[in-house]
Symmetry: C2
Subunit: 476 residues, 2 copies
């Protein structure tokens, strides 16, 4: 039997070793030819650009085409104690793909095939480099779709690695709920299958869920079996203004409590609406607003829409205008999805950073209100967007990086946001992941025993600490 | 920081040490008084009675009342290298609570409180010993319920430990989907919180999902935060006969593909129907039958029922009679839930063993048909019940244990059933768990790298191998 702990006594990689890196690059060049790239520009592009954390480029980037390629790369790197960092589309937000100890970025862009679609089973088998839009394009003719939609057109491997979600999560769940099985190359070069294709199983530890959200620190995902959904017969959506964030949150709670199977329910605060109006040429009232969507049959989406409208009205919200025409719906949701870019346009030229927290929904209004007060007190500009059905919301922090005082205040805001969320039994990140940016909060969030357990698991599966080191947990 | 690997170099417990056990019993008696029981009858009752595996009673049974009690028990046992075996209601089916290396059974029956219900967040915090029926009794006044329903009135701790599911899983998911967070006493006595109460999180490894299904081999669950659902406004259910297992399975696939949010869809084969008719005084046609249930509003359950009826009719099934009156529904589902007892009455006096597998739903008819052929060839009696929406089905194997040849044929059937499921990309157990009974299939199902990863994780979190040893994985 393979033994993932064979190297248990090895000294974990804690610093960059130039000789080892040189040896790895030589070996990879021999094996992969021009699929190994070491140019400065490509290396920097494979560090991270969407976070506070400074860019830390890898020493080389390699483009595998098969699981066997990934195996070979990992074995070469493991042989020299050199880190490997899996890379999808580079749209992660917390420094997930930086290379603080150097090493080799494994860019899976060429592993982008749909290997099988099992329409009767509502699943598909794919390679990790395919993006969600490309997958949905492929599936459309069969009346199927993959519902998880982070803002970016991310790769499915990256989405699994960060346990991402998005606007549909309130109905369809997150990546943890929509990955059935994976192939993963482990630190020792073994290829592990986490599960069979059956819809459920009680056959041992849930390796699939352990890998989802592990951010490349336990292995490199080379294949995914995903749960699919049928494209709904009918979709209705609309926007609904509310007198306050409180009222919008209460309407959300009542909607979910009433069992209305809302597919999307998104909160935009007044500032975010202002940004959306300017960017997307809309004329919505500049008050807190819910964007909602219902999936079902013609009759059921009409019933859901009507019941939601009644709830909104009870809470002083409305009018709720809903539409089932694709073009009307598309315009609305395009505006919602452009929320990040719209936010940026509030202060053209400055930097924009997205951060997220998630709290129990009963505490959401309180958390959003307190956050708005902090933003005002710190004299910052940061529109708020929320996947309110999950208690999850985002800030787009607009920061002039040349203004040291403003940068300092922005950092204070990010700390306070996490403190607020944790004080309400929430989490420091609902869907963006830990990366480098949120490691410092994990002890406060999880406590020492959980963090020690994570470190034990990391050490057990990656004793050399070569799998995306410096993310999630540190090994002492 | 706590260190779960402090004892990493300790020799794992591999055999019973009478002196150590004596020392543990002395220490526990001093601490717990008459909450420590060592009588033969109580010890045997805490071994396993619902499986092929012979009863292997623990050396003592202790009844903690708090997490701190469990901590103290684990610390005493760890100090002497004596196993601990968590015990809920003892309704597991694969020898999960047997004590092959002796040790102490931790019976959590007195830890049965509901600690909090957060109606707005649709969650509750409970102790592990409360059973699902007691929890639902507690929740009813608030219009809430916990949907996971294995046949037995199991404890929620045990249900989480075995990653169980049941008839509602097709709509509401399994325990993996309905546990938000847990408190777990680890092998070193630390109390780990696996997650916050937020509905979703990307903050590190998914310790919740790692513990769900770990069958007490990684820690003892002492608290659970569970996702709740609102009691539906309207429920419709009914039975529908089909000309063949194939037709019933095709109807199920079409129902799910059409996006009909069926809450329950259960297959009973002709023999199981015969058993149910006799036991529950019904007069259903003795052909393959689907029991279905729809949750929603009055209008939506009517629409769902009608659409299901049309699908059934297209496949030669029907008539589909559905009812929304509670007394009619209750009678039907009582008959379904009594399926196991009904099965037993086909051959009064012999032993009955339940076993389960799960395959992709597209292969289900083929798997059930092949299983029926095997049953006939082996001259056995084994009615079939299936959670057909998940591709999961059960045999109730009726075996005269005094007939050595029949016992041998029954064992052959169980092997063939698993071989069949694995050959169809299925799993050796959809919801019963591994325990002792299905350990031998894990290598064939998962492959060596996955099994080695499971062993690494077990070793990392339980280096002495004291947490329910001899289940799921062996440590070499």
């Amino acid at each position: 039997m393979a033994d993932a702990t064979a190297a248990n006594t090895a000294v974990p990689v804690q610093s960059r070793d130039p000789a080892a890196i040189k040896a790895v690059i030589t070996a990879l060049a021999a094996a992969f030819g021009n699929r190994l790239v070491t140019s400065q520009a490509v290396r920097e592009q494979h560090g991270n650009t969407l976070t506070w954390v400074p860019n830390q480029p890898p020493d080389a980037v390699v483009f595998p085409q098969t699981t066997e390629d990934v195996q070979q790369i990992v074995r070469i790197c493991a042989g020299h104690g050199v880190p490997v960092i899996p890379f999808g589309t580079g749209t992660s937000l917390e420094g997930h793909v930086n290379a603080p100890l150097g090493g080799v970025s494994i860019d899976v862009r060429d592993m982008n095939k749909v290997l099988a679609v099992h329409a009767e089973d509502l699943d598909c088998v794919i390679e990790p480099g395919i993006t969600r839009k490309a997958l949905n394009e492929h599936l459309r003719d069969q009346g199927l779709f993959f519902p998880i939609d982070p803002g970016a057109d991310a790769s499915l491997g990256g989405m699994a690695a960060t346990r991402c979600s998005g606007t549909n999560a309130v109905r369809y769940g997150t990546m943890k709920d929509n990955v059935i099985a994976m192939k993963v190359v482990l630190a020792n070069g073994d290829v592990m299958s986490t599960a069979r294709r059956a819809k459920k199983s009680s056959a041992g530890y849930d390796l699939t869920r352990l890998m989802v959200g592990s951010e490349g620190t336990l292995g490199v995902i080379t294949e995914l079996t995903l749960k699919l959904s049928g494209i709904p017969e009918a979709i209705a959506s609309g926007v609904c203004p509310f007198p306050s964030v409180d009222a919008a949150c209460k309407a959300t709670i009542l909607t979910i409590q009433s069992g209305i199977p809302v597919a999307r329910i998104e909160l935009l605060d007044a500032l975010q609406i202002k940004a959306v109006n300017a960017y997307s040429k809309l004329s919505l009232p500049e008050v807190p607003m819910l964007f909602v969507e219902f999936h079902g049959t013609d009759a059921s989406v009409a019933e859901q829409s009507q019941r939601f409208g009644e709830i909104a009205s009870e809470l002083g919200g409305g009018p709720f205008d809903w539409a089932t025409k694709p073009e009307d719906r598309s315009r609305l949701w395009q505006a919602r999805h452009d929320g990040y870019y719209a936010g940026r346009h509030l202060r053209p030229g400055v930097s924009a950073f997205a951060t997220d927290v998630c709290v129990p929904i009963s505490r959401l209004a309180e958390c959003v209100n307190a956050t708005q007060r902090e933003i005002a007190e710190l004299k910052l500009v940061a529109p708020i967007l929320g996947h309110v059905g999950d208690g999850n919301f985002h800030l787009t922090l607009l920061v002039d990086m040349d203004d040291a005082d403003e940068v300092k205040r922005a950092k204070i805001l990010m700390e306070r946001l996490v403190e607020l969320a944790l004080s309400m039994d929430g989490t420091c990140t609902g869907e963006h992941g830990v990366g480098q940016g949120k490691m410092k909060y994990l002890l406060a969030e999880h406590g020492a025993p959980a963090l020690a357990a994570m470190a034990s698991i990391k050490r057990a599966l990656d004793p050399q600490n070569i799998m995306n080191p410096g993310k999630i947990v540190t090994l002492s």
